[in-house]
């Protein structure tokens, strides 16, 4: 029995690797198809039988997308700019706001602290869509409709970002802060000099999550903007695709989908290590 054991275990491991790799490849299929199709020349997009991989890759689809988005008065680059601008400002604002709010929530004790944290955990527990009607009314009342503000400001104070930053900061020993306080540092100095460097992984995580949410957000541009020039990439892709059955611009659509999908993947790839470091502390103690 004994000498057999390591061998059987090894065999099982190989099977596990095969199984997991096959599953991962299966999961990646739609993405591989998307990437491959973005570089297909127009003939290859319509061959029968359908072909999964590209034979003669070309960048013509991208050129077509940039130069001739016919039927629309707004160039594709405008949508791309809107998306990049809105996402970056939202990320920057969210990281600053949630770090600042997480610091006292994790390290100070003051009246109302538990209540505030309870409110934030509760906000994790329902779909944000629940609040969309009053949100629309508020944005409307503030006169933000059809401005960048409408796409950015309502998304700045997300519950998940603050929650993760607070949980991460909580497990940092307070000795460092005490030392800084003894040295006579002000709270603001402690925040910028001690806290910010420590919570870098949490900031990276908030940045990643907020970026993904802002980049893929279809609700805000759909409801809060009216003019074509204020729309972001997801809606632009939808417009170019023109719904089911439209084949005229398939090449450009594939290129646009590629442009829409890659940034989130690249951002996660760059920040993966820091994100996992943060998610260790994501647990909710009930």
């Amino acid at each position: 029995m004994r000498p057999n054991r390591p061998r059987r275990l090894k065999w099982g491991r190989v099977m596990l690797y095969v199984f997991m790799t096959a599953l991962a490849a299966f999961m990646a299929m739609p993405l591989i198809y998307l990437i491959s199709s973005a570089f297909k020349p127009i003939e290859e997009l319509f061959v029968f039988p359908p072909r999964f991989f590209v034979r003669h890759p070309t960048t013509r689809n991208f050129v077509e997308l940039l130069l001739a988005v016919s039927g629309s008065s707004v160039p594709f680059s405008r949508f791309a700019f809107n998306s990049i601008f809105v996402s970056s400002v939202t990320v920057l604002g969210s990281v600053i706001l949630s770090s600042m709010a997480a610091y006292p929530l994790a390290k100070h004790s003051f009246p109302g602290k538990d209540l505030i944290f309870l409110g934030i955990v509760s906000a994790l527990m329902f779909a944000p869509e629940v609040t969309q009607i009053p949100r629309y009314l508020v944005v409307n009342r503030l006169g933000l409709i059809d401005t960048y503000g409408a796409l950015i400001i309502p998304n700045l104070a997300g519950a998940l970002g603050l929650f993760l930053t607070k949980q991460f900061l909580e497990q940092i020993p307070g000795v460092l802060l005490e030392a800084a306080r003894v040295d006579g540092a002000s709270e603001w100095t402690i925040f910028t000099r001690v806290i910010m460097p420590i919570i870098k992984p949490a900031c990276a995580t908030v940045a990643m999550l907020v970026f993904v949410a802002a980049w893929n957000d279809t609700f805000s541009p759909l409801v809060f903007t009216r003019s074509e020039a204020m729309k972001t990439l997801p809606l632009a892709v939808q417009t170019i695709a023109g719904g089911p059955g439209v084949v005229a611009r398939t090449g450009a659509v594939m290129a646009a989908t590629f442009v829409l999908t890659m940034p989130t993947i690249i951002v996660f790839l760059l920040l993966q290590r820091l994100v996992l470091e943060t998610m260790v502390h994501s647990g909710i103690k009930a």
């Binding site: 596990l16 739609p30 600042m100 994790l124 329902f126 779909a127 629940v130």
Partner: protein, 343 residues
Amino acid sequence: MQHRQPTRCWQTGKKAVRAVKGVTWGEQVKWADRVGRARRRAAGWLARLWQEMKKHRVSYYFMAPYLVLFFVFTVIPVITAIYLSFTYFNVLEPPRWIGWSNYRLLFLEDDVFLIALKNTLVFAVIAGPIGYIASFMLAWLINQLRFRAAYTLAFYVPSITSGIAMAVVWMYFFSSDRLGLINYVLINLGIINEPVLWLHDKDTILPVIIIVSLWMSMGAGFLAFVAGLKNVPEELYEAGRVDGIRNKLEEMWLITVPLMKPQLLFGAVMAVVSSFQVFGVAMQLAGFPSPLYAGHTILTHLHDYAFIRYEMGYASAISVVLFAITFGLSRVFMRIFSTHGDY
């Protein structure tokens, strides 16, 4: 005219409480005394709270920007939505209070809402648990392997892709003619003879939406599992082996799961919220309105009434129902994964 001098207290000179018929003087003094003491206590408490708040004012300064936005765009909207759900409101005129009418209409007369509710529940009951358990099992398996980062990436990435972008791909995969990848493969394998109308047949729309959502379901919860599993100290497993744990499954159930309760709760909350959030995918794939409302969800219905018909009161009632379901379920999971009494 008779002028009555108000009775004054002999000690403080303050006006006495007006005499009440049928209550003895002693009784009155006792009550006045109690009220006064309660008032003083409340005032003292408030003063102390105020002192305490002033002492910690720096904490509030730090939180102020976040809290203001959180209040304006989350707390107030939740309260407003609940209020509006009891009104008739079309944005042009001020809301008019109509009591429970919206809810009565919703559950008793709106057949399309009941279809949406049924679709959403079917979706959530199937996709929610499968996605949740699969996230945990996959994270657990990944934890046994090398190249964790690569596997994590492969399973997580679908959840951060744009639903609209991927819809283009799914349209091709589930296309109703022979050109559609899945029809093509199935016909070639001899499983079906005729192409299936995946996105037009009311019986296949919901399954397709479920498959696509499962593909995207390894989200933040999955990451929390991967990270948490990696952090379970190896010594605990060794101790478990000494104590007679025989196989990996027992190890998972007896050591890993209890230690991971907080992460499991986080993952559960994320899963509940996302499984009631099917909207973009459903609307993209099935169209709006979908054939026989087969892809109609609570959020589709909400969007329809809020931003197409501008019946904000009625739409608010829909969102309150959604709120009650997700919030209630999350509370249930808080009970299940409670760590009170552990350790």
